[in-house]
Amino acid sequence: MPFTQRHLLGLEGLAAEEILHVLDTAKSFVEISERDIKKVPTLRGKTIINLFYENSTRTRTSFEIAAKRLSADTINISASSSSAQKGETLADTARNLEAMRPDAIVVRHPSSGAPHVLARAVSRPVINAGDGQHEHPTQALLDLFTIREKKGRIAGLDVAIVGDILHSRVARSNLFGLCALGAKVRLVGPPTLLPAEFASFGVAIHHELKAGITGADVIMMLRIQRERQGANFFPSLDEYSRLFGLDRAALTAAKPDVVILHPGPMNRGVEISSEVADGPYSLILDQVTNGVAVRMALLYLLAARGRTEAERDAEERAAS
């Protein structure tokens, strides 16, 4: 089954075959980054706009490198330099960018659903690079890619996602992606950060770390944000760390060949101890490496596609 989506707004609702198609495509791009000359002409003449309304080092750099290795022209726009500060709406910004004929727009935004607003306003492909507390689909795809590389499969694996599930777009995208591919997902965190409604997505809920990771093949640790402490989601980072921090002792509950993922940036000594983060089970840097290949695959699948007739008509109407 080919990848037929016009945009990548989230992993929710994607078929397993579509996700696997992205992962397979990514696999074919891995090798490019291993070359001496890391560039192919696949997207030559294409323009990719990275529209970032929120700070990001890893994701923005990863998208930029991915585009450049495919020979696309990239433009990075950050909120501090955008019209947002002059009061321009997101939809207007999108229409203005589209008028310059980009081939894809990558967007990160602090509001959940912002990429949907963008996608409604423009005809070019929109790639969600993280929206509020909703989804971060490319992160989940690179996580899936990394797990599959290491374990050879996704289906049937026990995967524990630990931490601030409520506010995590990484958790949501992984939940949808892992479930679509047949993994058994447990979510682990304090009830304040893990509402019971999550169970309705077909996952198990745990409020105790050890029980949550017992027998796990994969543990995905989430970044805990310091500001949640002020909002009374938990009393202190110390207490959070004692209850949900992953250290070597806690890790013994998991399968002996467990692998550890973290989307970064890590709070060492809070949600994850350095010995675990830097230890043999850690795939944290593999995730970053694979992120480039996954984003190359998505840019290829979405931006290389020519304009459809309907899109061309719409642009001509807009221009006249």
């Binding site: 939809a91 959940s112 607003v117 309705s200």
Partner: protein, 431 residues
Amino acid sequence: MTCDAIAIEGGHLVDPVAGVDAPRDLLLQDGKVFAVDKPGAFRSADVARRIDARGCWVVPGLIDLHCHLREPGYEYKETVASGTAAAVAGGFTAVACMANTNPVNDSAAVTRFILERAAEAALARVYPIGALSQGLAGERLAEIGEMRAAGIVAVSDDGNPVADAGLMRHALEYCAMFDIPIIDHAEDPGLAGGSMHEGRTSIRLGLRGIPAAAEEVMVSRDIALAELTGSRLHVAHASTRGTVELVRAAKARGVRVTAEATPHHFTLTDEAVAEYDGNAKMNPPLRGGNDREALVAGLADATIDAIATDHAPHHRDEKEVEFEHAAFGIVGLETALPLSLGLVERRLLTPSDWVRRLSSRPAEILGVPGGNLRPGAIADVTVVSPAAEWRVETGRLKSKSKNSPFLGWKMKGRASFTLVGGRVVHEGVER
């Protein structure tokens, strides 16, 4: 007969106050109901106009307890003229408008301004609701007595909850002097701050939720205060199962509490937010399926007294933004009639119940004329074509704003004629 007499003939009269649900003709004169009689009784009367109501229900004009006309201050969203045009097109002959204008209706001067605008430009009767607190700030009582003398029919900080229980207590006590209700926007500030109902959909969309408890905590508090003070409390836009249960229990104890529900809350659920549709964002938010069912049951057993629109017009620019930044509220005056008739079609309400919820009870709660068509009553009449089908389209909505989650919906039922004070102010084309 004088020349301004109007006969409405061939229709089915539904007047729960008079206990009529039968074919009757109606004769209006001098702004009043002159006579109600058997079909054909006015055939030889000398009238200026005869309205053919065959196939229609003839009911006392619908009264909306709760709308936002946006004037003064937000005329780009709605005006008294455009809002009442929407009202009469939707079958409403009177509307009570909330105080969150700019300036806030917290003084007799603003009340008088609204009534002057209504006298100049309104197609429907306009009953201003005064602010409970100065500037809706929730700190000091507004000059309720002055506003009452100028014409307000109720008091509310709608849009803002009254966080301070002491202020609410005093407002309830104070209003007893004027026998006007306090209309309660019930929302606990500590639990507020979200942009949709807290539940599976908010989790899925990564949006901060407003739990049902945010409303129930406050309804619970305010029922206790109504009980303490013996004053009248009207719960605005009830949206949760818990609220319905609290009101039901309070009524059983004899507390002077009434409640309203909106068509969107008893028609839609939080799933309507779908992929961040700003037109499905309002406060209180669309709730879960259980809540929706409880509202319908509450309307059926009269726990919920009235259907009100919470018509809240907003400009398209305030809706086509990130969901969490979109304005709260939807227009409702032109869709309330068919959406509520759906409850009659599903036999959850009788036609008489329907008229009670949309006309008789609102008139009683606000203490305004109308709500019945007995001889001598004001000649505010809605002629309803219950079978007329139409589609909700931006082009046909009279409201300045088009922020409706029902755009594109096929509706059944509409107002064929709306008469205010014996004058035809709206004529629908289709039957």
